[in-house]
């Protein structure tokens, strides 16, 4: 008997416990729901979120993309200096939101020689870390061919940098631009490591990561990015893919384009014409 009684009591105790535990779970669920019902998502749920409060701009109407015609680039580096001025990038030879590489194929060598405006020889030629120009190198070699390749953030469709950000400080906007929220960036630099293109760098003064924004403050006002604005040969092309008459739509319609490192799966939105297998 003692044994049976105790078995009943155990049963009853287990039932009560499970009931209580269930209530506790329900309570937790209520708390979770309350958490979920914060203003932001609530607004998002109610009939779709409006565009961010940018005057005269609706990000649903645009899908930005960038083109580079490397055949036209003359390596004048006006884009690099303009970017630094427009975006107040550190005036030294180590921090660039956009940069230009030169690929030189010397006769008898398998791999191209690559230099950029930050190369010590080129900095010596300009005489300053604040001005940039390509030095007249390789004069004593027989050069088979050589060309310049402007580079910048690819504003990928599947950006690895956004995936690794632990705080939601970097994100992809609805109009196709990858931005960094400097108030949420904690300076961990995971994104710098994650980017396969080396497009990001650490701003030591502000302790945040920095990169090209396609001059988001300009394109949302109907202007071109600073580098496109100053390019004297039309090597940089920018526009809205939703507008079939925009320069980028025509560029993509008229050319067979490449992207850099397609194998990484990032799906870049900077499209190149006139590059080479060695450009990565």
């Amino acid at each position: 008997m003692d044994d049976e009684t105790s078995a009943d009591e155990v049963q009853a105790g287990r039932r009560a416990f499970l009931t209580c535990f269930g209530s506790a779970l329900a309570g937790g669920a209520v708390a979770a729901t309350a958490t979920a019902l914060l203003p932001g998502p609530a607004r998002a749920a109610a009939g779709g979120a409006p565009s961010p409060a940018i005057p005269d701009y609706d990000w649903k109407q645009h899908q930005w993309a960038f083109g580079v015609d490397a055949r036209k680039c003359i390596g004048c580096l006006r884009c690099v200096e303009a970017c630094k001025a427009e975006n107040e990038v550190a005036l030294d030879a180590h921090h660039f939101r956009t940069w230009v590489e030169r690929y030189v194929y010397v006769e008898g060598e398998d791999a191209p020689r690559i230099d950029s405006q930050a190369d010590p020889v080129n900095i010596a030629a300009s005489g300053s870390e604040q001005h940039y120009r390509f030095a007249n190198r390789y004069q004593d070699q027989k050069v088979e061919r050589a060309f310049f390749v402007p580079k910048l953030c690819n504003h990928c469709t599947h950006p690895a940098c956004v995936q690794v950000c632990p705080t939601g400080a970097t994100f992809k906007t609805d109009d196709g631009v990858v931005l960094i929220d400097h108030t949420y960036c904690i300076g961990c630099q995971y994104c710098v490591q994650a980017c396969p293109y080396g497009a990001r760098f650490f701003n030591v003064e502000k302790k945040v990561t920095e990169k090209c924004t396609w001059c988001y403050h300009r394109i949302t006002k109907g202007l071109l990015p600073a580098c496109v604005e100053v390019c004297p040969t039309g090597a940089r092309i920018f526009g809205d893919r939703r507008d079939k008459q925009s320069p980028i739509s025509r560029f993509l319609a008229e050319n067979r384009v490449d992207v850099l490192k397609p194998e990484t799966g990032n799906a870049p939105n900077v499209f190149y014409v006139g590059i080479d297998k060695d450009v990565r």
Binding site: F17, C20, T35, G40, I54, K72, N136, L179, D181, H217
Partner: protein, 346 residues
Amino acid sequence: MPRHIRRLLLVLIGLGLVAVAVRNLVVDRSFYEYGHYRGNAVAEIARDKPKFQGTAYCQSCHAAEYDTWAHGLHYSPDTARIVKCEVCHGPGGGRDPGQNYLHAATGPVHPGNLKLAVPADTTALCTVCHEQIVGRPAEQRQIVSGEHAGGQQCSLCHDAHAPLRFKGALAAAAAGGNPAAGQRKTAACAPCHGPTGVSAAGLIGPTLAGQNRAYLAAALAAYRSGARKNPIMLGVASVLSNSDIEDIAAFFASQKCAAGPGGAAQLAAARAAGAAMCASCHGANGVPTGAAWPSLLGQSTDYLQGALRSYAGGDRSHVVMSAIAKSLDDAGTAKVAAYYGGAACK
């Protein structure tokens, strides 16, 4: 419900409420508005002020320069080669990062201080795009600056707004002037310069015959404005109109002052006299190598020496001549003047 379970429940609910409260306080209210990020950040980034303003902004005040540019080679929309104002002048509404522009020190924002950023060194500026280097496509116009115009400032000959438009003689050819009408206006010139502008012995004025028309016109305009200081010439030039100046310049330019012996022997003599750097523009025998520079043919030693002293002293000012004149000592000035003074009109 057993009391210990009820307590556990209360603790759990309490923790849940704390979690909600903390999240509300710490996480920005716009987080998750559009995705896993702070929604307000988008508008904040878009609020930055653009620094590059575009050509229309420049045109609103600099219509003449804009017009020159819009008709020149630096505006070629058919080949997408458009060198906009701010490529050379820097951002219209922003800082000048490298301090590479004149006037930049007076204030960072144009036109707030009403001073346009003008590139100080056009040789350094133009070669950024036009120096021949490995990698530059062949379609781009390129020079080897060591072999082009002796390393002088590009702006000396080229109008940077329309680089195929040349300054000096070509500009004067466009301006014109009537030599026959000019001759009737030279009564005041003859006593010092001779009736045909050949300064014979005893006349105090320099030879004008065969001189570049543009140079003569510019000189008369400079006397009239007082930029070139000479009390006699100020008096003569002050009564001349613009068309008078063009006519007189055309007349004297059309007069003959034939060269003396030239060639390699004369160049060697010029070098010996310390005039090698003069010869690169003014020629070994005083006949200029380019249309933009004045002829020294038939000038007296006294006049040339005086001109060099004026450049050195600042009475006359020219980007190249002032520097050269300052580099010459008295003996060098005398030697150069004596050398070119020997090339008389025939």
